[in-house]
């Protein structure tokens, strides 16, 4: 009978081992001006998610341009600051994407977005002369990085890393997951989705792409693993004045909301930072510009473009993993 007890005991351990194997832990919380969900699968899931959340809050306190005491806030105030590794990395990335996109990505637009009232949500339509003056400060090429010190060389120049910080953060969470031995996980930072590995049962993750008209079906569903999916569109934040809608993605060329017929842009890649930065940039470029950029780029990424007229275009790399009730065109690399 003792043997039986021992075997029963072993069986219990074996079974609980099984459930440990499929153990999943999630947490949802508010940070970076948005709602976030973080899920890890695996024995160490709980500790991994806790560390991820801590990291998010830490990065928010470094990177937010609107949190007093954050590193970016201090940099904007003082014009020059010694900054921590993460902030330096994000700024360097922002400058890199600014060059790569020929200025469509511009981390120095804060003086202009402030005129429109986007940061403090006190919206207004600025005068053309105000915009022109503020645009003179929006010069990423006037930002210098020297080791761990960043200098904004124009008086009044201010940066905002909002169009890249969430992407950097989701990549960072995936790094934490890997370090914690997690092989499967998914994070959703206010619509910035990044996945690690496949689902616990080995199948691919399904990520739906929001329809800018939220009162209709999703644009489609993507089957992915190890990818970051970021969608940008004017529908995310906007205000209406005298019957006209103004959204938050400003065209760095003229300081007005980018209007070129695109309703949303989704970028899919292995790198959260790249997906985040490029989704905004390609939105600014418009449909033709975005397609041209995709065709010529050496970077490894895919795109989903949706126009105001309801036309859907998907790049060749994901055409087979994308499922939609809408018809879509496929754009191919040159």
């Amino acid at each position: 009978m003792k043997k039986v007890l021992a075997l029963t005991f072993i069986m219990i351990i074996f079974l609980s081992g099984c459930s440990f194997g499929s153990y999943s832990y999630s947490d949802s919380f508010f940070a970076m001006d948005t709602y976030m969900s973080v899920t890890a699968n695996g024995a160490n899931a709980q500790s991994a998610v806790k560390k991820a959340k801590k990291q998010v809050l830490r990065l928010e306190n470094l990177l937010s341009a609107h949190k007093e005491k954050s590193e970016v806030y201090r940099l904007n105030k003082n014009g020059s600051e010694k900054l921590s590794n993460d902030t330096i990395k994000v700024i360097k990335n922002a400058l890199k994407f600014s060059r790569l996109t020929n200025g469509a990505f511009n981390p120095a637009m804060l003086p202009v977005t402030k005129l429109w009232g986007f940061p403090d949500k006190k919206y207004r339509v600025p005068k053309k002369s105000e915009i022109e003056n503020a645009l003179k400060l929006a010069k990423p090429e006037k930002i210098s990085v020297n080791k761990n010190e960043v200098t904004l060389n124009l008086k009044g120049e201010e940066i905002d890393l909002g169009a890249i910080a969430k992407g950097y953060t989701s990549s960072k969470i995936i790094e934490i997951f890997k370090r914690e031995g997690i092989e499967s996980g998914i994070v959703n930072l206010g619509g910035n989705v990044q996945t690690l590995g496949a689902k616990p049962d080995g199948s691919l993750w399904t990520v739906a792409i929001e329809n800018p008209d939220k009162n209709s079906e999703y644009l489609g569903k993507l089957k992915i693993k190890d990818k970051a999916v970021v969608t940008s569109g004017g529908y995310e934040r906007n205000f209406t004045k005298n019957g006209k809608m103004y959204h938050h993605i400003l065209n760095p060329e003229n300081g007005y909301p980018a209007e070129n017929g695109l309703s949303s842009v989704t970028v899919i890649s292995e790198d959260g930072t790249l997906s985040d930065a490029l989704s905004t940039s390609l939105f600014v470029m418009g449909k033709n510009g975005a397609e041209r950029f995709y065709k010529k780029s050496e970077k490894d990424f895919d795109i989903i473009l949706y126009t105001e007229g309801g036309k859907l275009t998907v790049s060749q790399g994901i055409a087979d993993s994308f499922n939609s009730q809408l018809d879509f065109d496929i754009v191919k690399k040159d």
Binding site: I186, N188, N192, A208
Partner: protein, 121 residues
């Protein structure tokens, strides 16, 4: 080991197998039922409501109120006293979520389509 031991081991194995099947069956059963609207405030779930039943829910959070309306398969925030009123201006949604950041309020439509792991947007 004698015969009795084998029988005992057999029983343990069968019980474990039954437990395993039962657990999985239960998980699958959870996926049934219509679409629901899940409302949460901060870390707490405030309530879940069927999307196909018209309803008006007034939520008093510690930061202010939101009046949520479920109507003909859509959800919207009819009124709120948050500073940006962004939740109200989002209008009607049939999928995804409405978030009122100042009130820490999340209104999520939980799709029938349990295959969706996340929504990018």
């Amino acid at each position: 080991m004698n015969k009795r031991d084998f029988i005992a081991i057999g029983i343990v194995i069968i019980l474990s197998a039954l437990g395993f099947i039962f657990l999985n069956f239960n998980l699958k059963n959870d996926a049934q039922g219509g679409e629901t609207v899940k409302i949460s405030v901060g870390a707490d779930i405030y309530g879940t409501y069927p999307l196909n039943e018209n309803d008006e829910i007034k939520i008093n959070t510690k930061n202010g109120f939101n009046t949520v309306v479920i109507e003909n398969g859509s959800v919207f925030v009819k009124d709120a006293d948050c500073r940006d009123r962004y939740c109200v201006r989002q209008g009607k949604i049939r999928n995804g979520s409405i978030i009122c950041l100042p009130h820490r309020l999340v209104i999520e439509i939980e799709s029938n389509d349990k295959s969706i792991d996340a929504v990018a947007g």
